[in-house]
Every structure is written in structure tokens, then in C-alpha cells.
């Protein structure tokens, strides 16, 4: 099911949690809403589900305007952060609930419900646990029961709120891969909320980066990591450092001195670059500073460098240095970004 979100605005007591948000989700896509807490990502998910209603704007499911349809009428599968399983029901009763509460005209017969439940249990690899109660399951199992329960009603879209938030790192990784396979198998349009960028980049077809009630950028993992369109995206996704610079006559100046970079238009702004997009150099036109720390991070080595700032607090940047040539603490390091972007002030 294709979903179109048109100029949505949502206010809570005058506070705009979402401000003029538009997004098109193609049928069968796996979309991540990524952002820090308070960025409005969960609010957007709840608006799509119909658990909240927009102050302004419209939501379309295909060609149907669903903006004012109740949550019951939208037929969405929603998986809650803390699973929200019914603890007085067995796993099988939880999964079958959505079918059991249908009006008698569209309710499948008991044997049919039973078969559907057992198929779903197979699908989430929990066969044999149908008579357990939720408090007898592990976190990862509960998560999969919640997913099976949401899938039982044959939802038009699947919405997941921080689906792996409450799980430990190892289970989270397994479930992440499992969810991707699950999505590829079932082909449901899926939207999930996360604040974990690794999760979003690894899992989603497209990542929607949000901040302060607005969409900052929508794109593939490559797009948002390699071609960030705003200072927020640049600093929120991956590691980055930034320095105030000016551009005059096509040359980038830092503290009035050229640093060996060139840029088209004259401007003043912030120069952003990632630690891995930096080379150490001996040339005079370069950035330079004192190495204050050197950390080994798995397959890389990161140096922290302080650049003097005329008596003010020094600029702090991080650059990747070659593994085989560690820099000395306290030594002077000269470097130059190889990929960078300047955002106007």
C-alpha cells in the first residue's frame, strides 16, 4: 500500500511536534524514521496509524484519504516499543485477537483462526510456544509475538515503534537481520522508528532523517551518509567535525589563511568533514593542531586534535590516522579534508 503524507502539522498544546511534513512512501518499501528524541518521529508514526490525528494536512493510503479514519478502520499493523502484549492471554490468543474481535460477518471460523495463528507462529519461528503467557517469554520472543499479532489482521502497512529498543545488543542484531528477511518475504510496506542510525542505515531502503518536527533529508543509506544536505544530518549521522570558514575568490580560508581547499561561490559558513575523509600532509596550506588523544576503534585509529583559536576555547576535531603510523601525543599534526561540505551560516 502506497502512503502519501501531505503537509502534516501536529500541535500538542500549541507546541508543534510536526511542522509541515510531507513524505511519499512507495508500496513495499522499508522506511526508517531516524532522529533524536523529540524530533517528532514517533508522532509521525502514530499519525499514520491513526492513534493521533493531525492538526493540519492529509494522509492518503493509496487514493483513499485516511486522515480522519479511526485507527480501527485503517487496518495498520502497529508494533509497540514495549510490545503491549495482552498478558492474560496466551501467545496464540494474542495473535488471534485481531481476528476474534472482527464483526461476525467478516470473522473467520474458529478452525481458520487457529490455522492462521499456527502459520504466523511458524513465520516468526515460535512454533510450540502457543500456550505460553507473555511473561514466560524472552524479550526477543515477545517482540516476535507482537509482530505476528500485528500481521494477523493482514495490515495494509506495518508500523514499528523502536522495535528493537528494549533488547540487548546481540538479540537486536539478530532480529534486525530477521526483520529484513521477513520484509523481503512478505513485501509489506513497512515504516519503523529508531534513534539508532546503524539500525536505520543497515535495514531501511530509505532513511527519513528528522529533527525538531521537520524532515531534514530523505534518501538511501548512501545518500544520507555520503551526501548529507544539512549540518544536522552531517553531524547526526556518522562522525564529523566542523570548523568556521570563509570562501574568498574560490579559496577556502580558515582563520584568514588558505587551507588548500577550493570552493565555487564566495560565502561564509561551517566546513564539515568526516574523520575518514582526511589525509595527513606536510604541505603548508593545511589545517594544523595538537594531538590530544589517540584512540584505537576496531579497524581504525582516531586522533583527537585541538586547533588553537586565538585565546578562545580551541576547535576540537577528529581525524582518522593510518593504523601503521600512529601519531604522537602532543605532536603537531597537519591534515586536509579530502571530502567536505560547507554549509552557509
Amino acid at each position: 500500500m502506497e502512503v502519501r503524507i501531505n503537509n502534516i502539522r501536529k500541535e500538542f498544546d500549541r507546541f508543534a511536534a510536526l511542522n509541515d511534513v510531507s513524505l511519499n512512501i512507495a508500496s513495499g518499501e522499508l522506511i526508517a524514521l531516524l532522529g533524536p528524541s523529540g524530533s517528532g518521529k514517533t508522532t509521525l508514526l502514530r499519525l499514520i496509524a491513526g492513534l493521533d490525528f493531525p492538526t493540519d494536512g492529509k494522509i492518503f493510503f493509496g487514493d483513499e484519504d485516511a486522515s480522519h479514519h479511526s485507527v480501527q478502520d485503517r487496518h495498520v499493523g502497529f508494533v509497540f516499543q514495549h510490545y503491549a502484549l495482552f498478558r492474560h492471554m496466551t501467545v496464540a490468543q494474542n495473535i488471534g485477537f485481531g481476528l476474534k474481535v472482527r464483526p461476525s460477518a467478516s470473522r473467520p471460523p474458529k478452525t481458520e483462526i487457529k490455522k492462521r495463528v499456527s502459520d504466523l507462529l511458524d513465520m516468526v519461528q515460535l512454533s510450540g510456544l502457543e500456550n505460553r503467557y507473555p511473561n514466560q517469554l524472552s524479550g526477543g520472543q515477545r517482540q516476535r509475538v507482537a509482530l505476528a499479532r500485528a500481521m494477523a489482521i493482514e495490515p495494509r502497512i506495518l508500523l514499528l515503534d523502536e522495535p528493537f529498543g528494549a533488547l540487548d545488543a546481540k538479540v537486536r542484531k539478530e532480529l534486525r537481520r530477521w526483520l529484513r528477511e521477513f520484509h523481503d518475504r512478505t513485501g509489506h510496506t513497512t515504516v519503523f522508528v529508531t534513534h539508532d542510525q546503524e539500525e536505520a542505515l543497515e535495514l531501511a531502503d530509505r532513511v527519513v532523517v528528522m529533527s525538531q518536527g521537520k524532515i531534514e533529508q530523505v534518501g538511501s543509506a548512501d545518500d544520507v551518509y555520503d551526501r548529507p544536505q544539512s549540518p544536522f544530518v552531517f553531524s547526526f549521522i556518522g562522525e564529523s567535525s566542523h570548523l568556521p570558514v570563509e570562501v574568498k575568490d574560490g579559496t577556502v580560508l580558515f582563520q584568514g589563511e588558505p587551507i588548500g581547499l577550493s570552493e565555487g561561490a564566495n560565502t561564509a559558513g561551517d566546513l564539515f568533514f568526516r574523520p575518514e575523509d582526511v589525509v595527513l600532509t606536510d604541505e603548508s596550506q593545511a589545517l594544523s593542531g595538537k594531538v590530544t588523544a589517540c584512540r584505537r576503534l576496531a579497524g581504525t585509529r582516531i586522533a583527537e586534535i585541538d586547533i588553537a583559536n586565538n585565546g578562545h576555547a580551541p576547535f576540537h576535531v577528529e581525524v582518522e590516522v593510518p593504523l601503521h603510523a600512529p601519531v604522537e601525543l602532543g605532536a603537531e599534526a597537519r591534515f586536509r579534508p579530502t571530502r567536505w561540505k560547507i554549509f552557509n551560516k
Partner: protein, 285 residues
């Protein structure tokens, strides 16, 4: 599961392996305290009853007046507890779910039956529900006061806070997400309340019922004013005990008390077992 299994096993050992010190001291204190407050008085009760011998005991047990009094006591307490479960749960729902002016006042009023001398409540009810009272006159010719219905009304008053105060905290803990989950699955409000929310409250409701019921069985002060105390009709067992005492028939009084004790104990035991069962199913409540 494993935690509760080991805990129950540890309960059977004299020395439990907890690292918290003072087990011997606190257990000793608990036993001495329970002995002084509960066990010794009850032992005295049984001792006094034993003076009667089996035949005397059976004579009192099978006496028509005793049976009727026990029937009235347990019947009215059961009915009142049942009514309290329904309306107490609704009251708890209103107090936890809605914010309205005067909510705190109503919340405080719920506790009044705890504090008010029960005799005062009894007299107030008697004058209100009497055939010529404000409320009682409305229901004429159906008589409320001075019949078992009056007893039920007094016991509803006495037992209400027990239900509200046990259900309320559990209701406050219900996750909003659970209700929303039911809605996303297509359940309407009615189905959400009756199939999702209320079953989750079962253990708390049972506890409230047991407390209100036990309190109602033992209630004396408020009931004697509104009951009319007609033997075989609206005479409660505690009153019959007092009557026997006034006749200096101590063995007769303790015999009725012993019967009440046994029935109450059996009923509370059954309720406790149901609670333990539902707790095992639903997790800790």
C-alpha cells in the same frame, strides 16, 4: 518461572540462603507477634468451644436460628462484596481515567468508611432508608431498612474502599499502549474494556472482593442499627454471638464464632487459591 520455583522451594527450608541478615530475629518476632494477636485468642476460642463437646456443638450448629443467622451474615456480605466489585471498579475507573473538578474530593470520600465510626453510618442509613426516611419512603411499599436489604446497603458502604483501593493502583498501571494495541487490531471500545482491560484486573478485583467480603462478614456496628434484628430473618451471626454472651452462654457464643471462623477461613482460602492461580497466569500483579 525458575525464580518462583526456587523461591517456593526455599520457603520449605529452615535456614534460607538470603544474604540479608536478621532472618531468625524477624521470623521469631513475627511468630511471637502473630501468636499474641491472632493465634492465642483463636486458640482460646476453640478451647472454650471444646467445653461443649461434639454433641453440644452440633446442637448449636444445627439450630435453626444459628443457620439462619449465618445465612444472613454470609449471604449479605457476599451480595455486598459482589455489588462493590462492580461499582467499586467503575468508581476506580472514573478516578483513574478522567480529570474533572472535585476528583480529589471524591477520591478522599472513598476512604470515609474506614474512618467513620460504623455505628454512626448504621444510624444514618437506618434513618435514611427507613419506611418514613428520605430514601426509604421513595421505595415504599418495598422495605429496605430493617430487612436483609438494609444489611446489604450497610455492608456496601463498609466494603467500598477495599475494592476501590485495591483496584485503583493496578488500573493506574495499565499501559496506554495495551489499549492502543487493541484498537490497532480492530477492537472497539467495548471489546477493549471487556476483553483486554478488565481480565487484566482480575487478581486485583478478587483481592478487593475477598477483603470486602471478609470485612462484611465480621461487621457489627453499622448492621445492627439498620437490620431490624428479627430472629430468623435479619439477625446476623455476630449479633447472635452478643445475645448468647448476654445470656452468659459463653460456650454457645464461642461455638457460633468458631463456625464463622471456619467458613470464613475456607472461603478466603479458596479466593487465595484463585488469586495464586491467576497471578501465575498473568504475571505479578
Amino acid at each position: 518461572m525458575t525464580a518462583s520455583a526456587t523461591a517456593s522451594k526455599a520457603g520449605w527450608r529452615v535456614k534460607q540462603p538470603s544474604i540479608i541478615p536478621g532472618f531468625g530475629l524477624t521470623l521469631g518476632f513475627s511468630l511471637a507477634y502473630l501468636s499474641l494477636i491472632i493465634l492465642i485468642p483463636i486458640a482460646g476460642l476453640l478451647w472454650r468451644t471444646a467445653e461443649l463437646g461434639w454433641s453440644g456443638f452440633f446442637a448449636i450448629l444445627t439450630d435453626e436460628r444459628t443457620i439462619r443467622a449465618l445465612y444472613v451474615s454470609f449471604g449479605t456480605a457476599f451480595a455486598a462484596a459482589l455489588i462493590n466489585v462492580i461499582f467499586g471498579t467503575i468508581l476506580a475507573w472514573v478516578l483513574t481515567r478522567y480529570r474533572f473538578p472535585g476528583r480529589r474530593l471524591i477520591d478522599a470520600m472513598v476512604d470515609l468508611p474506614f474512618a467513620l465510626p460504623t455505628a454512626v453510618a448504621g444510624i444514618a442509613f437506618a434513618s435514611l432508608y427507613a419506611p418514613n426516611g428520605w430514601v426509604g419512603s421513595l421505595f415504599m411499599p418495598f422495605r429496605i431498612a430493617f430487612t436483609p436489604y438494609g444489611i446489604v446497603i450497610a455492608l456496601i458502604f463498609i466494603g467500598l474502599p477495599f475494592v476501590v483501593r485495591t483496584v485503583q493502583p493496578i488500573m493506574e498501571e495499565i499501559d496506554r499502549e495495551v489499549e492502543e494495541a487493541a484498537a490497532t487490531l480492530g477492537a472497539n471500545r467495548f471489546q477493549t474494556i471487556f476483553q483486554v482491560l478488565l481480565p487484566g484486573l482480575t487478581p486485583a478485583v478478587l483481592t478487593g472482593f475477598a477483603l470486602a467480603f471478609a470485612r462484611g462478614v465480621g461487621e457489627y456496628g453499622s448492621v445492627i442499627f439498620i437490620a431490624g434484628n428479627i430472629p430468623y430473618v435479619s439477625e446476623i451471626a455476630p449479633l447472635l454471638i452478643v445475645i448468647r454472651l448476654e445470656e452468659f452462654n459463653y460456650a454457645g457464643a464461642t461455638a457460633i464464632a468458631t463456625i464463622m471462623l471456619l467458613i470464613s477461613f475456607a472461603m478466603l482460602l479458596v479466593i487465595n487459591l484463585i488469586q495464586a492461580w491467576s497471578r501465575r497466569r498473568y504475571g505479578n500483579v
